[in-house]
């Protein structure tokens, strides 16, 4: 079957979604939508897109797309996702982060479950070959048990943070943290499109007493020697029997006990971003073709990423370690400084607003 795709949002990120279509045999880009007529027409001309719309409802009604790319700013995700899902669109690719707000995350989950609309978050690095390779390497047990993960990026917690946490969870075979203890600062981050503190550092506790040190801050360690701001996306994994690393620009590889050679291969965002986006997009069609082949970036994997990040922000607000539990329940650890408090009901939008207010003071 050949699937009909449309793109909502004709900005620079939209172009990176569109440019892979010529290399996907069973997907056609048939429409685009943007309020800015000039930008929309220029975009459509560049990619040879016949359908051009300024209204989402009209586009869906006339074009009946199978896949819609939602490449808009992150401050309003729920409304267009709901609109598309309720209109019967089978699959939505949404740029990361899935949302800026816990309440939206829960509602998106509900809408997807109720309508059957497949929501896929554009954490396309899962389709770079090194990350599945690392996951399989860890699962093979060759490197023993994972002890510690250092994950570092210069982008903010809701800008590059979702990519970073997503990759950590992926290589750990979707293992989710049990608790988190985070610090945050930098009110200027709220002036950015992915509104959040500009500096967040967190330690996550994972089952088996594993630790993940996760930092999203321009002061982060990132990858030594890399100068481009957005190229800092670095994961080190210390295991009982070896070491794995993955740089966004540089190399990825591993060393393992008993091997005389270090395995190392080039890793380059510049070379991998287009094929990665292509394979990511094509995998949506594969999932639509065959439900037994789910997309790597489906809500099942994307939502825990958001809850882990929201949990870090709540921890930073409270200044203590909090336990992360399934079903969006976040209960304070009894070991928090000085007092024992229980907060039922999970992370809320108000928690994130309170963090901002606290930083402002």
């Amino acid at each position: 079957m050949k699937y009909r795709s449309a793109i909502v949002g004709c900005g620079p990120r939209g172009k990176s979604h569109a440019e892979v279509y010529p290399d996907i045999a069973n997907m056609d880009l048939i429409a685009c939508c943007d309020l800015d007529t000039s930008r929309r027409d220029s975009f459509a001309d560049e990619f040879g897109i016949p359908g051009r719309y300024g209204d989402l409802d009209e586009m869906v009604a006339k074009e009946r797309p199978d896949v819609v790319h939602l490449v808009t700013q992150p401050d309003a995700r729920l409304e267009p996702i709901s609109q598309l899902a309720e209109a019967g669109v089978p699959a939505i690719i949404v740029e990361k982060p899935l949302t800026l707000w816990p309440s939206e995350a829960m509602k998106i989950e509900e809408v997807s479950a109720r309508t059957g609309c497949k929501v896929i978050v554009n954490t396309q690095r899962r389709y770079f070959p090194q990350y599945p390779a690392i996951r399989e390497l860890i699962k093979s047990g060759r490197l023993g048990e994972v002890v510690f993960v250092r994950a570092s990026t210069w982008g903010g917690p809701l800008a590059m943070g979702p990519h970073l946490m997503d990759l950590v969870m992926m290589v750990l075979d979707e293992q989710q943290p049990e608790s988190v203890w985070a610090t945050a600062e930098g009110l200027e981050g709220y002036e950015w499109s992915h509104a959040a503190p500009s500096h967040v550092m967190a330690t996550y506790w994972l089952p088996g007493d594993r630790r993940v040190f996760w930092e999203c801050t321009p002061r982060g360690l990132g990858t030594r020697g890399v100068s481009e701001y957005w190229m800092h996306l670095h994961i080190d994994i210390l295991c009982t029997e070896g070491l794995i690393w993955a740089e966004q620009v540089g190399t990825w590889g591993y060393q393992v006990r008993g091997d005389s050679d270090v395995f190392s291969e080039p890793a380059s965002w510049w070379d991998q971003s287009v094929p990665g986006q292509r394979d990511f997009t094509a995998a949506v069609a594969t999932w639509l073709d065959d439900s037994s082949k789910p997309h790597e970036c489906r809500l099942d994997t994307a939502l825990p990423v958001m809850w882990a990040i929201f949990g870090a922000l709540k921890s930073a607000k409270l200044g203590c370690r909090i336990t992360l539990q399934r079903e969006e329940q976040f209960i304070l650890d009894a070991s928090q400084p000085g007092r024992t408090v229980s907060v039922p009901g999970g992370v809320t939008d108000n928690d994130l607003k309170a963090l901002r207010n606290g930083l402002a003071r």
């Binding site: 250092r150 203890w181 600062e185 007493d209 210390l238 070896g242 070991s335 000085g338």
Partner: protein, 341 residues
């Protein structure tokens, strides 16, 4: 050879036994006196030595000023005792860790000793254990490339084993300039009953001017070394991640290296024999620098940086913001965190 250096043990509690054992093992050091306010401490000393023991350090100094004062008390009286020893004109002072209770006190002690030309050293004896000496050599020889992440974890909280952990990070990192510190504390009530009252669990992040970072995890919720499921006080681990490999050291257990220069993990040190005589080696070096000159690897100037980091972690936790180590850094952060019992 110079005559033996005369050593006084100040504070004869449990911890002093390690010092007594070490001093007794080192040729050229002799225990000549002791002091302890507590009768059981004096009894411990008298059971071992026939030399005088006093209930007041002032009385000891009035009778005879030793060459070396080993101050093995808890941290609270350390400032006063150190200043007394400096005033009396000893040649060297050994401080148990933590070197003081407050950062202000530590700074004044180091300054006073420096002005008087007295060697002040802190018993961070991990610098003498093979498992960490091997790690330092591996780092210095470039076997892991450029180090960029130091990770330290211990069962003991930041004022218990933390001084060792911070000191070891600084040593392996070649005493870099500290840019800023962040920290978080927990388990305050549990921490009140620990030997050196402080929060029973701490996370600390340290940024160094050379671009490297340290992540510290000290206290009861620490990450156990998987190889050591049951031993707690020996759970002191430092891992250094470099551009070309990693070195991993655990007190009394060994040092492992993974580097392109070798096949897989290579054991650089193993066993507990070196750790067990680390305090002896500490005193041997003290004897040598007092007699022959030079700088002890545990000199208090280096230790002070580590102590400042510890208190910057508390200050950062209290302020909930990034802290730079400055002369006016809040010296009472730990006391404010602990509050009234």
């Amino acid at each position: 050879m110079a005559g033996s250096l005369r050593v006084s043990i100040v504070g004869c509690g449990n911890r002093s036994v390690e010092h007594m054992n070490a001093v007794d093992s080192v040729l050229g050091l002799d225990v000549v006196s002791g002091a302890d306010e507590q009768a059981d401490g004096r009894a411990r000393f008298s059971d071992r030595y026939e030399t005088p023991v006093y209930d007041d350090f002032s009385k000891l100094l009035a009778q005879s000023v030793p060459d070396v004062a080993a101050i093995c008390t808890m941290e609270y009286p350390r400032y006063q005792l150190t200043m007394q020893a400096i005033g009396a004109g000893v040649r060297a002072i050994v401080l148990e860790k933590p070197m003081a209770r407050t950062v202000t006190g530590a700074r004044e002690m180091v300054a006073a000793a420096g002005a008087a030309g007295i060697r002040l050293v802190v018993c961070h004896q991990m610098r003498f254990a093979d498992e960490f000496v091997a790690a330092k050599l591996a780092v210095e020889r470039g076997m892991i490339g450029t180090p960029y992440l130091y990770r330290a974890s211990s069962y003991g909280q930041l004022m218990e084993q933390g001084p060792h952990m911070v000191d070891m990070v600084l040593w392996l990192a070649n005493d870099p300039e500290v840019q800023w510190v962040m920290g978080q504390v927990a388990d305050i009530e549990d921490g009140r009953s620990t030997v050196h009252p402080a929060p029973a669990f701490v996370l600390g992040y340290v940024s160094f001017a050379d671009g490297s970072r340290a992540v510290l995890e000290c206290g009861r919720s620490f990450q156990r070394a998987v190889e050591l499921p049951d031993e707690t006080w020996l759970q002191k681990r430092v891992q250094v991640l470099g551009t070309d490999g990693v070195v991993d050291s655990i007190v009394a257990h060994g040092c492992k290296l993974m580097s392109p220069a070798v096949a897989g993990w290579q054991t650089l040190a193993s066993g507990d024999s070196s750790w067990n005589r680390a305090t002896v080696a500490f005193y041997e070096e003290l004897r040598d620098v007092v007699n022959d000159g030079g700088t002890h690897r545990n000199n208090a100037e280096a230790s002070l940086t580590g102590f400042e980091i510890i208190h910057a972690i508390y200050a950062a936790a209290l302020a909930r913001e990034r802290i730079e180590i400055t002369p006016d850094m809040d010296p009472m952060s730990l006391e404010k965190i602990m509050g009234p019992a």
